[in-house]
């Protein structure tokens, strides 16, 4: 028997949306391990987020200290490792975000845990299914350590529903916060009013065929009409047309929105790995042979120059008729 310690990310007073996939996994794992889900939140001021988290887990532990203001693996990993021990955890998990991917392997090293990264499912008590080879295959791995570390692919787990009764929030000491000399100097954020790419219901992505960054404006108009996040292929981000954090793919973000619209994207394996779990996929490309059409539910062979303005007009018409 063992508990499941779910490290969740916060954003101000709230849990980050990506935490809910992690909690869904944690509940599945807790059932298999015969223990409870315990959420741990770490930061400068996370009590309010702690109350938010209590809607999803019977026990929430907050760890606060000024020195924990910026996330760093160096300072967070020892805290998560210590609480895993204190709480008798047999599974430690986090969402496979930039933070989770950076943090959890360091925790695993500190507690001697075997680890499965970016998992898509739990198939046994200590057995997990995970994509390998850029999503071209799924591997089942069995882990034989007493404690197991896991990062969870957000797009493969539904967001957790709230519990009928909210859980208890308690706080734990941060202890000596040791940074090993590391510091976050600054963060250059690409602020946007659009939804977060990881959580968006609709994603509009452009590829190399958009030719330059200015041309993305027409896609942004479409995105804003649909309340969508903007994405891009690696070819487009590498060429500097759009910010790097728009990249969808094996080495960028893995998304699974309700609707994914791929425009002027050929569909390299690397890109498909990041979006092929989307519910409905639309591909618009002038090349009828483009591999993107093999994963698309609806394909339109057309240039973006012609198709996108038309699409914007048609959707506007549809929206007007619906109101």
């Amino acid at each position: 028997m063992g508990n499941v310690l779910a490290f969740c990310e916060t954003s101000g007073d709230k849990l980050r949306t990506n935490a809910l996939a992690n909690i869904t996994f944690a509940r599945q794992a807790a059932e298999k391990h015969g223990g409870d889900v315990i959420v741990v939140l770490v930061g400068k001021a996370v009590s309010a987020a702690g109350s938010a988290a209590a809607a999803y887990a019977g026990k929430v532990i907050t760890v606060e200290a000024d020195a924990l203001d910026n996330y760093m693996a160096e300072t967070y990993a020892p805290i998560v490792a210590r609480i895993a021990g204190d709480e008798n955890a047999s599974v430690v998990c986090a969402t496979a975000s930039a933070t989770g991917k950076d943090l959890v392997p360091r925790v695993a090293a500190l507690i001697g845990a075997g680890m499965a990264s970016d998992i898509a499912g739990i198939t046994g008590k200590n057995q997990f299914k995970r994509p390998i080879l850029a999503g071209n295959a799924y591997s089942s791995v069995d882990i034989s350590t007493d404690v197991i570390c896991v990062t969870v692919r957000q797009s493969e787990f539904d967001p957790a529903a709230e519990l009928a009764t909210a859980g208890q929030v308690s706080s734990a000491e941060a202890g000596d916060v040791e940074s090993f000399g590391a510091e976050v100097v600054r963060v250059e954020s690409s602020k946007s009013d659009r939804p977060d790419l990881n959580d968006a219901d609709v994603v509009v992505s452009g590829g190399r065929g958009m030719k330059n960054g200015d041309n993305f404006k027409v896609l942004e108009e479409l995105a804003d009409l649909l309340g969508a996040a903007m994405g891009a292929s690696r070819a487009a981000t590498d060429a500097g047309m759009v910010p790097a954090d728009w990249q969808v793919g094996q080495t960028g973000k893995i998304v699974a929105p309700n609707l994914y619209i791929a425009v002027a994207i050929s569909g390299a394996i690397q890109h498909l790995a990041g979006m092929k779990s989307s519910k409905t996929i639309v591909a618009i490309n002038k090349d009828a042979e483009a591999p993107i059409f093999q994963v698309a539910d609806y394909g339109l062979v057309a240039t973006w120059e012609k198709a996108i303005p038309e699409l914007v007009e048609e959707i506007k018409k549809l929206k007007e008729s619906q109101t």
Binding site: G114, L133, A134, A182, V185, D297, Y298
Partner: protein, 272 residues
């Protein structure tokens, strides 16, 4: 300055990998250096080379765990310009992340590098673990997913641009430390070492080995050690039970016009 670049061989990601009898079929596979590790070699070279007078201010040592024929990937890195190589004898099936990390710790104890620079993940297993685990084991600072590296003039720290969910985070770590390389580390101005003149133009991407480089690589030292030599016992805790193909998406349809597309998205897919 000494930089250690651990690298892994992977099946050529440009070629289709076959799945047979619940495992990846490696019988006819063509091995290459894991692309992210190749980027790490490129970044390591840029960190030490091309001072004003063309000289180098440091050594780049490459390392792999693998059987005899994994030496070929080390030779590729030597041909790019790395100075020497270390191969630790191991069979692919006895290596998991924990074993790799134990072996790296042993080599790092002996070599005492200032920087360990490696790919953020191998594109076969896609695990993205080894660098972070190594940093945890060594109690070293870590800068993962590096899109840029600036080595301070006094060579005591690096400031690494990291691609995170919110944008780019600049993290400064003292050396020795661990850096894992992301895609954009090979863009022309991603690496600053304060010895290479600003006017120096790097191409986008890892360098190709020149014929001269390939000839020279044959004479560069390659140390071969057994796991016993470095005092590590392979005890894998991760077992790959089976491998299967992902579920196929049902065939889609080609629509003839934007009007048809919008109608189908609205009525059939209920996606608008």
């Amino acid at each position: 300055m000494k930089i250690l670049v651990p690298l892994k061989r992977v099946p050529d990601p440009e070629l289709k990998t076959k799945i047979q009898d619940g495992a990846v079929d490696l019988s006819n596979v063509s091995w290459v250096v894991n692309p992210f590790d190749e980027y790490a070699v490129e970044a390591a070279l840029r960190l030490v080379e091309n001072a004003d007078d063309g000289s180098r201010h440091g050594e780049v040592v490459v390392l792999t765990l693998g059987p005899d024929d994994a030496a070929a990937q080390l030779r590729s890195a030597l041909a790019m310009g790395a100075d020497r190589a270390i191969r630790i004898e191991a069979n692919d099936d006895e290596i998991d992340a924990g074993t790799v990390v134990d072996a790296l710790v042993a080599i790092i104890d002996a070599e005492k590098p200032d920087i360990v620079l490696m790919g953020k993940q191998a594109v076969d297993g896609d695990s993205n673990q080894a660098g972070q685990m190594l940093a945890g084991k060594l109690a070293w600072p870590q800068a993962t997913f590096a899109a840029s590296i600036e080595l301070a003039g006094d060579k005591s720290t690096v400031t690494v641009g990291r691609e995170v969910d919110a944008g780019v985070e600049y993290k400064k770590i003292p050396l020795p430390g661990i850096i894992t390389a992301d895609l954009r580390i090979i863009s022309p101005r991603a690496v600053i070492n304060h010895i290479t003149p600003d006017s120096h133009e790097y191409q986008d991407g890892p360098r190709y080995a020149s014929l001269k480089g390939i000839m020279k690589a044959k004479k560069k030292p390659m140390d071969v050690k057994s796991m016993a030599d470095i005092g590590v016992t392979a005890a894998p805790v991760i077992k790959r039970v089976s491998v299967e193909l992902p579920p196929q998406r049902p065939a889609g349809q080609i629509v003839e016009s934007v009007q048809e597309l919008v109608a189908k998205l609205n009525e059939e897919a209920k996606a608008l």
